[in-house]
């Protein structure tokens, strides 16, 4: 049973890799941005675990800005992805403009919250 799940995991990994290589370039850029944002959030959490969470609002604003921009980027990816039927008639410029607006609001609030 263990071997078959190990084999399963490997087969899974391979098929995922090959399928992912087929995604268009703009989506891969967005994915890279999401990965970067999540990684930054993780670094901040590790730092908080080491140093303590005293100005808690600063910690929260840092982590939430990373998570927030990651989530917004995922939403952008959803809206720009040509394979999604629901967003077929949404022009990608509009999606990007929404993304920029939401990020603007997010970072303004973060600025206020940083203390």
């Amino acid at each position: 049973m263990a071997r078959s799940s190990g084999d399963d995991a490997q087969a899974l990994f391979h098929s995922l890799r090959s399928a992912y290589a087929a995604t268009p370039k703009n989506l891969k850029i967005i994915d890279l941005y999401v990965a970067f944002a999540v990684f930054t959030a993780l670094i901040q959490v590790v730092y908080m675990a080491l140093v303590g969470s005293f100005p808690f609002n600063s910690f929260l604003s840092g982590v939430l800005s990373c998570i927030g921009t990651a989530v917004l980027a995922v939403c952008l990816r959803i809206q720009v992805n040509k394979e999604n039927k629901e967003f077929k008639d949404l022009p990608p410029e509009r999606a990007f403009a929404d993304f920029v607006l939401c990020n603007l609001v997010l970072h303004l609030v973060i600025m206020n919250f940083l203390g």
Binding site: S5, D8, A11, L12, S15, L16, A19, Y20, F56, N57, L60, S61, L64, I67, G68, V71, L72, V74, C75, L76, I78, Q79, E83, N84, E86, F87, L90, A95, D98, F99, L101, C102, V105, L106, V109, I110, N112, F113
Partner: protein, 743 residues
Amino acid sequence: MVGKSEPINGTAKSQPPPSPLSPKSPDLLSGYFSFKSLKLKTKQQELLIRVSILCLVYVLAFVTRLFSVLRYESMIHEFDPYFNYRTTLFLTEKGFYEFWNWFDSESWYPLGRIIGGTLYPGLMVTAALLYWGLRFLRFAVHIREVCVLTAPFFASNTTILAYFFGKEIWDTGAGLVAAALIAICPGYISRSVAGSYDNEGVAIFALLLTFYLFVKAVNTGSLSWGLASAFGYFYMVSAWGGYVFIINLIPLYVLVLLITGRYSMRLYVAYNCMYILGMLLAMQIRFVGFQHVQSGEHMAAMGVFFLMQVFYLLDWLKHLLSDTKLFQAFLRMTVTSAVGVGAVALGVGTASGYISPWTGRFYSLLDPTYAKDHIPIIASVSEHQPTAWSSFMFDFQILLFLFPAGLYFCFKRLSDATIFIVMYGLTSMYFAGVMVRLILVATPAVCLISAIAVSATIKNLTLLLRAKTKAPQSASGKGGSSGKAASKGSLDQSQPFQKNGAIALLFGAFYLLSKYVTHCTWVTSEAYSSPSIVLAARGAHGNRVIFDDYREAYFWLRQNTPPDAKVMSWWDYGYQITAMGNRTVIVDNNTWNNTHIATVGRAMSSYEDEAYEIMRSLDVDYVLVVFGGVTGYSSDDINKFLWMVRIGGGVFPVIKEPDYLVNGEYRVDKGAAPKMLNCLMYKLSYYRFGELTTEYGRPPGYDRARGVEIGNKDIKLEYLEEAFTTSNWIVRIYKVKPPNNRW
């Protein structure tokens, strides 16, 4: 026939499939309305009708709340609004920065209160903005007028919002009916009359705005609507503590959608945008602080957030992988690990105390018996009692039975939006049953769902009426939902009966609606328009007698006591004393410090000498009690006295409730308990009352509120002296004597 239908740019959103009114017969319409001379097309006629209905409803919603302003004067009602008024006054005088960082030493002496960090600023900021806006336009209004009329203004805005919400859920007809119903519904009017300057007046508008924007975001999947709903949520958080309802209902709704297999990308975009941005914005309010990540009441939203990420990930992987078997294996692994990790995190957080459990106020909603045993202060507020059936009928009338009918229609046409309104309706009705005050939160849902029922029924009935000559194809084509007899195949022969039945039912529907209007207006006029700071009664000859004793007492305090005098009273009157009397109080309606209130309760329930010690320790100069024995006013301190005993006894075990009762009965006459007859509250209420004849044919000292002759008529006060009693004896103020000089 409407050949070229030019798009009318009055409506911002494009029209849904044309309503049955438009394509049929313009000559019929123009015959009804005789617009031949104006040559208006059908679409324009419809737009004109809609706009004029909405304008009338807007004005109606405002005007129906003005009863007390017309009968008495333009003043703030009740207790809590006085605090809101005082803070708004401070905001307009000193500016936002001072307001946000305000530490008030005039209440909760000697502790003080951090007002900037313990209030919901939405209402004050809204009123201040309106005030500054009007001042900018050179209307020289006083801030009190703005405060008095803020709630009716926002009620009118709520009706417009209800129209748009109804349009989103069902169609424009339902929207119009919803706007009309919510304009006069007593459940909403009770907390938004002119003069009721309280958080709910603005909060219901914010609630409906948030819900509408969120449903719009889910329907369109657009980030900008999600952003707008986040702002709506921010406004709600700034306005009222009831925002907890939103932050739990929306995740519950998302969960229901996920469970019923309605997961979609639009839902992902809408919920995530609203949750992250909304949470961040909400944390800007100091009173809310970090509760969104630390309090148990907000954890559902976070849990659903993580669940959405898991769903999205799985959906994406399913899309990438072509082999379903592999995917199933992966699915099993991921879901079990995700649920496991989530449960462990929640368990660790709750056990270690990092995630605080549900606070008493909200826990008592889930377990209604909790407050009575553990937190007497919450149990003592009359608005927190469970609701009786009569209250439901009083506040909703026909909407009560239109609500299940509307639920039926919603279930017939299930979509993301109707699922939302059904959930909102059911959850809010449950909470309305637990606590009277929450009927207010249920009102928009009940009005919307009832509007669906009314609109759908009337539409079907009128379709039956109109299906005259082209019987087979039109009636069967259009009467899709449950018309009364549309399912019958043989339409021709039952035609006249159907038409007569439809006409009769239509008349019945209009009769019911007109009865609703009558009831609502009567309820508003009789029950919900009293300022409760000014009392009115009928004199012996039928003339109206006004008791303005409260304001008389507060202004006496303002003008006849030293500016740094401290006044002790029961917490109900704290806000009013600070706002109108401008004196420092010991406890007020904020009730944030139970021990302080219990100290006051203990002082009121002790013998005079013990109470004097407590009052000296608190630097009390004046004591204020409310007494209804002369007028028969029943909300006085003697009737509230047992709550003082319970709250005091909750902290100081020396006060025992059975000491004040006789065989479990609460009495003030000769048979009362000796401790009752000699406690401070009794003495202060009935001082010199034994000489007063209150009613013809009764002995002196007859208490009209309790209906008995008092037991202890010969009261001597040793440590206090009477300072002021109002003209109808409703408010009595006593001065605390300084200690005797030593020889």
